[in-house]
Subunit: 139 residues, 2 copies
């Protein structure tokens, strides 16, 4: 198995609402709203939104009903950008689980929770390289 992933799919209760949230965060998808799924190109990967019931059935799992041990994160270029993204998420309807603050690993991060309960950590990590195109590179 090659060391990479192509797609992360988040299960949602209301596809139009979920798409609207990510669009309010500044994201854009070309997916036809009639298709019943939404794909966002994210550099060389894709983030998808799909009905949670359909995703559970397709994944061959029983839905635990809450969070299930999977958290996406975005690294940004400064602590100020962490705060700005957290405020943007608040305005778009997210719940703020943690406001931006210094972390135990020497960075700065905050967490918002999208309308379907998916947390996103927004982090400034001075130890990792963040390229102009948004790629991250481990030390």
């Amino acid at each position: 198995m090659e060391q990479r992933f192509s797609l992360i799919t988040l299960g949602v209760a209301d596809l139009a609402r979920a798409r609207g949230f990510y669009e309010a965060m500044g994201w854009h998808s070309n997916t036809d709203p009639e298709l019943g799924v939404v794909f966002f190109q994210c550099l060389g990967t894709v983030l998808a939104l799909w009905g949670r019931d359909e995703l559970a059935a397709d994944s061959g799992v029983v839905d635990g009903g809450g969070w299930g041990g999977c958290t996406p994160a975005q690294n940004v270029r400064s602590p100020q950008e962490v705060d700005a993204v957290i405020e943007q998420a608040r305005a778009a309807g997210a719940t703020i689980a943690r406001a931006g603050a210094p972390t135990f690993w020497g960075g700065y991060s905050g967490v918002f929770i999208d309308p379907d309960g998916h947390p996103w950590e927004i982090a400034h990590n001075p130890h990792w390289q963040l390229a102009d195109d948004g790629s991250v590179l481990l030390p």
Copy 2:
């Protein structure tokens, strides 16, 4: 918020076992085992393994205890490669939720479930471009 993600963290019960599973899948991490977390470079993103309790606390969420609406996927280059990765996962100790088979969207995929209950869809999608380096590009 830029349209990208940097990191996906999967919560695990036993970090050494989880790392061993992904290493048995052919992945390699430079993370010091003493660090209490594992980072795998995946093109311009990172897949991390971390204790599920710590991840839940850090993410500001209550752990539903099962799957929570998040499924990663890897697109591969042929139906035969889907079958090969599924068999590799079976040998590494995964549960097979779906053997490789044609999908309703005109591709071919299977699903394995890692030792911590995280499903992975392994898919051949003839409609999306898969670059030599493993990047995917939406139509």
